[in-house]
């Protein structure tokens, strides 16, 4: 789930560059092909997530994770105050930064999809909406890029999180140190939805 979404997002970003930057368009050309790839991967982008939550059995863990991500407590608010540095914090499976990242990207995918549809199938929308959608699409693209760079930077800074997302496992010690409130876990429960 994470990796198919990441791959599609990566394709969207890479194809967006020559569509947006005039000098890159001039060098690379093949605009039509790029548009097709960009639109295609953009429309597919929400699909892995939807499949991921839909399964009665296989969607169980992801639904459970999303529920944790949805609910914020006072702990999460204090996490943001100190950007995770407060030693008294006892985050659960996901800290507030990870929660915010997930929700932001989730909402952004929806908005990029809506504005992208207006830009591509423009003829049923008023001209002012097309201009508005283009503006929102561009602006949010920059925000998404910044957030994803942050997401990857923090992942690299904490290599155990990369192991967690690739293998679905974290060591008991690491979990106790970084996610002290994350308990009640028999081993098989810790498998991430990939």
């Amino acid at each position: 789930m994470h990796w198919s979404t990441a791959t599609l997002m990566f394709v969207c970003i890479v194809t967006a560059i020559p569509l947006y930057i005039p000098s890159a368009t001039a060098i690379i050309g093949r605009r039509e092909l790029l548009v097709t790839i960009h639109v295609f991967s953009g429309i597919l982008l929400p699909i892995p997530i939807l499949i991921g939550v839909a399964g009665r059995q296989w969607g169980l863990q992801l639904r459970r994770d999303l529920q944790i991500i949805n609910k914020w407590n006072s702990e999460d608010v204090s996490w943001f105050r100190s950007w995770g540095r407060d030693p008294l914090l006892r985050p659960g499976k996901f800290n507030a930064g990870q929660k915010a990242n997930t929700s932001f990207i989730g909402g952004s995918i929806l908005v990029m999809l809506i504005t992208g549809i207006i830009m591509h199938w423009f003829s049923i929308f008023p001209l002012a909406w097309r201009t508005g959608a283009t503006f929102v699409h561009d602006l949010l693209a920059f925000a998404i890029l910044i957030v994803i760079i942050g997401h990857i930077t923090y992942a690299i800074r904490y290599p155990a999180t990369i192991r967690a997302i690739t293998t679905g496992k974290v060591s008991r010690d690491w979990a106790q140190e970084h996610s002290p409130s994350w308990q009640e876990h028999p081993i098989e429960d810790r498998e991430h939805q990939e």
Binding site: N70, P91, V111, I114, L127, R130, F135
Partner: protein, 253 residues
């Protein structure tokens, strides 16, 4: 985002804290609401942002022009690579239903009486570059020089990219805001990205009518749908009055 069926297996940290709030859902709803507001009201915001960026960065190039909302062109090509031709090698062929078929060089066009237009470039997909400076020759002047025959009804355009075509009715082609342009964006020759050395500029219509890399003008007895029109765009592409909408025209068309 309520996954009620799994509520019974929540994390301890969240169950413990009865004050927990569905912030995640609110973030998503908030972004979507902002996004939708942006679609509906973004045009006026973009106008303000675009004007501000133009004030800071009047040249319209460089890093500032990449900022979202900057009034910049997006470069469209329909072929694999960017078509390019030197002003020396450039020719414009005028033929079809005329008494005097002619081929003009770039310098021939420069020598003709020139007109100047400061008008918007509006793309059908939504982006717009306001107050672009255009300079060139009235298309009607070129038509007059070639002496259009009475049976003529339309003007067809061909691009030297080898693929792109466009057309106008003869009446549309004779308008005073339709020019064969050799300068745009300040007193600069048209770059190859923008369709240089010579392109068409049809001010009252969406950008796809303004054929880039113009190399041939053919006078015909009927309009032939061009490249985008074969893909579903309107042939009569009046800004704000075509392509699915009848909004108030952006420009006094």
């Amino acid at each position: 985002m309520d996954f009620g069926s799994t509520r019974n297996r929540l994390n301890r940290a969240d169950v413990d804290d009865q004050l927990s709030k569905p912030i995640g859902r609110r973030i998503i709803i908030g972004i979507v609401a902002l996004g939708c507001a942006g679609i509906v009201f973004g045009e006026s915001v973009q106008r303000v942002v675009g004007r501000a960026i133009t004030k800071i960065n009047p040249s319209g190039s460089g890093i500032a022009s990449l900022f979202p909302g900057a009034n910049t062109f997006r470069i469209y090509t329909v072929t694999g690579s960017l078509p390019s031709e030197s002003t020396k090698a450039y020719t414009l062929k005028v033929g079809g239903l005329v008494n005097r078929p002619t081929t003009y060089s770039y310098n021939d066009l420069l020598a003709m009486p020139s007109v100047r237009l400061d008008k918007d470039f509006q793309c059908v997909t939504g982006w717009r570059v306001p107050n672009v400076h255009w300079q060139g020759v009235l298309l009607s002047h070129i038509l007059d020089l070639s002496q259009v025959q009475p049976s003529a009804k339309a003007v067809l355009f061909k691009s030297f990219d080898g693929v792109y075509t466009e057309s106008l009715t003869l009446d549309q082609a004779k308008r005073s805001d339709v020019i064969v342009a050799y300068e745009m964006l300040g007193d600069r020759p048209i770059s190859s990205e923008h369709g240089g050395p010579v392109r068409l500029y049809v001010a009252p219509m969406y950008g796809y009518k303004s054929c880039k890399w113009l190399s041939e003008i053919e006078i015909s007895d009927q309009v032939v749908p061009g490249y985008w029109e074969n893909l579903g765009y309107d042939v009569n592409a009046w800004i704000g009055r075509s392509n699915g909408r009848s909004d108030a025209p952006v420009d006094g068309a």
